[in-house]
Symmetry: C2
Subunit: 433 residues, 2 copies
């Protein structure tokens, strides 16, 4: 950048809201990212860091001096602080903590004390609480004494002397109530509170299902400890929904589109390595039929069709069941029904595509026996695809393995092996003298 | 269900909130769904319909008599009404509209008048507006006259005599302001409004980026026409994120996990049909090398490895670029950089995996020439995978084709064809006398 451009870019960056600057950084290659970061005002750093995705944020923080990191973290909300610190590499985290003064370090350690991915981890502690026996008028005067309410406050929490949550009063209820009535007459004492240890994905499901804007967080004694607002939950909802897609392609959820080549190559190699083993396994199955393949080259040509169709059908079932689980639709009570349904679809898929492929082969290769063999293999593999596509994620979930991560590989291995075995095995029996 | 169970289930259903009943219906096979639906009180029908996914809702509505549908729609918010009506099959929609009285029909037609998937379509019309020259005290008294505010109201809108939006006042600002000041002194006149024609996915991106809870919707003259609240946007965010995963597996976004077998088989057959053509195309490429394959059966055995690795690597790139586009990170200005990066990853992937596969083949088959041939094919295919994985979605987006829907099939076709050509072609040249 030359001096003129430097001044112009800097001016532009200063005018943008933090979220737009974050988007710009995320859309830039690592080198440009560092240059842009230098141009930002130091007191703007915290706001931008909050909005960045994990990978990009860590890349930037690990290049900052610890004391500037501490400055940037100073104004962050508890939930953003916990999120930022928890994803840092251990050595960077330690040097940042070491640069903090005692008060900041206590706050950071408190924020990190809740389990990652729990309600406590994503909550904010800036709640406004009122007593149940005061009048609305008193509440209104109390609020007016504050110059502003914490961001995204839509509800006041009613607690007793020992901080036990008794109920909630929404701001809109507060505004429509008569000033003379007491809080306990208008408070909602049936609203649900979230336990501090609830996993964040359950929190997201509750927000989505009940259309909440915010919810109180309580500890095991029902003491109010914080609140969760929908804007933080939105990120979790998107991450949860993206997680399956990224995992099924063998990618890390947080993979940064503009990461350096070396880092990306390394991350993606795990999946390619697993796939190489799978492909070699399929080749080893074909290898069992070497004599058959050497006698009939046409089998080699058609050998990929049945595994490929099984893979697609199986992945359709797998994807649907994984999504059904994520939405909370699939449970032990309806799993058997679902497996039976997918088995039936596998059977009908088998019927349709075996008739079709047999016709194509009969016309293309003028060989009815070969058509019959490939049709039988197709039938077998479609049934195997439906069955394994439905049962694999259910079994894996029971074993507490993430089905999105390994399901697709195991499924493809099954459909490859079954497809090749059925095709080359049947061909060996019926087509080879 | 016997009579005793009937009474018990009914009692249980009546105690559940609408969203839980919806979840229960979505988690049940079609037959059970109808039985459960019959057990619900008719005046609860509307609340439950709102919460159901498109496919499940349409299944239920098409089995109801039009007049009961009209009753159920009566209490719905504008956005839910528009959503419900727009997804109905044309004939059902017509008979429902025909059963409405003039006033309801006008309301329905108004709700349907905005383009599907636009801000107008997802907005609610129940805004609370105030004038800029009145005092906060007057506003507070005005609000107290209403017994309750519309659901999820967090902001009042300030408009002039001709309904032009001048600014916004959040409820929390209203509560902290002094009663004597005027609205125009505390209103935020820089808050952004959404145009009624903005696509809903852009609306979702804005809510996510700027952490909004609600936003005003204006027409082209900046007249206030409604508001969008985050709870409706959450559904769009989830659907957008899920869309790519479902499309890449060849599934309809709205596919109902518990749909009848016939319906599911039919829907999934499109993708399987496309895949059959792709698989036949790959077979046709192998067919060109029939003489080679008949001379060396080992080529038939290893023929699937290179295409399979190319498919996985290409799909990793494709998935990452598609997600980058969905998040707004990939733009014309950084596309070239991204293509070059993925090309470089393809090259390094090629290096790593060609060395590995060559070593495996050299050991397994004791054939160094064969190892060299497969290594060369792997190198070519990995580069093709990186290049097409990055360029395909960018080109498809320019042509306004959804990359998630067709990208994966086209990519796999490319990596299959390049992989087979490179492997069998090189083998024909170097291994066959």
């Amino acid at each position: 950048l030359n001096a003129g451009a430097f001044v112009r870019v800097r001016k532009m960056l200063l005018d943008l809201p933090a979220s737009d600057v974050a988007l710009l950084l995320e859309s830039s290659p690592a080198k440009t990212r560092q240059e842009l970061w230098q141009l930002l005002d130091a007191d703007f750093h915290g706001d931008v860091l909050e909005e960045l995705s994990e990978d990009v944020r860590n890349g930037i923080i690990s290049k900052m001096v610890p004391s500037s990191v501490v400055d940037a973290l100073e104004d962050m909300d508890t939930d953003d602080l916990a999120e930022t610190l928890s994803t840092l590499p251990e050595d960077v985290l330690q040097s940042v903590l070491a640069s903090m003064d005692a008060q900041d370090r206590m706050r950071a350690e408190k924020a990190l004390s809740y389990g990652e991915d729990t309600a406590g981890f994503i909550m904010n502690t800036d709640t406004i609480t009122v007593r149940s026996d005061v009048s609305i008028d008193v509440v209104l005067r109390y609020l007016r004494l504050k110059t502003e309410l914490p961001e995204n406050t839509d509800t006041l929490y009613v607690v007793n002397r020992r901080d036990v949550l008794l109920g909630t009063v929404s701001l809109s209820r507060l505004l429509t109530a008569h000033p003379d009535v007491n809080v306990d007459e208008i408070m909602d004492d049936e609203s649900e509170a979230i336990n501090v240890d609830t996993p964040e994905s359950d929190v997201a499901q509750m927000f989505e299902r009940y259309n909440w804007l915010s919810a109180p967080v309580v500890d095991n004694d029902y003491n109010l400890v914080g609140r969760i607002t929908i804007d933080d939950v939105v990120d979790i909802i998107r991450e949860d929904a993206e997680h399956s897609m990224m995992s099924m392609a063998g990618l890390d959820d947080e993979e940064d589109t503009f990461a350096p080549v070396g880092q990306s190559t390394k991350r993606r190699s795990v999946w390619l390595g697993v796939n190489l083993i799978t492909a070699l396994l399929a080749a080893a199955v074909s290898d069992l039929f070497e004599t058959t393949l050497s006698q009939l080259a046409v089998l080699a040509i058609l050998n990929t069709i049945v595994p490929s169709m099984g893979g697609v059908a199986g992945n359709q079932t797998l994807t649907l069941v994984i999504r059904g689980m994520a939405l909370g639709h699939v449970s032990p009570s309806n799993s058997l029904w679902l497996v039976r349904k997918e088995l039936a679809i596998g059977f009908f898929n088998g019927l349709i595509w075996s008739v079709l492929i047999a016709s194509v082969i009969a016309i293309w290769k003028q060989d009815y026996a070969l058509g019959g063999v490939i049709a039988f293999a197709m039938m077998m593999n479609m049934i195997a695809a439906g069955l394994s596509g439905a049962t694999l994620p259910i079994i894996m979930k029971k074993l507490k393995i993430d089905p999105a991560l390994a399901g697709s590989v195991i499924l493809t291995t099954i459909t490859d092996v079954v497809g090749i075995f059925a095709f080359l095995g049947t061909a060996t029996i019926f087509l080879i003298d």
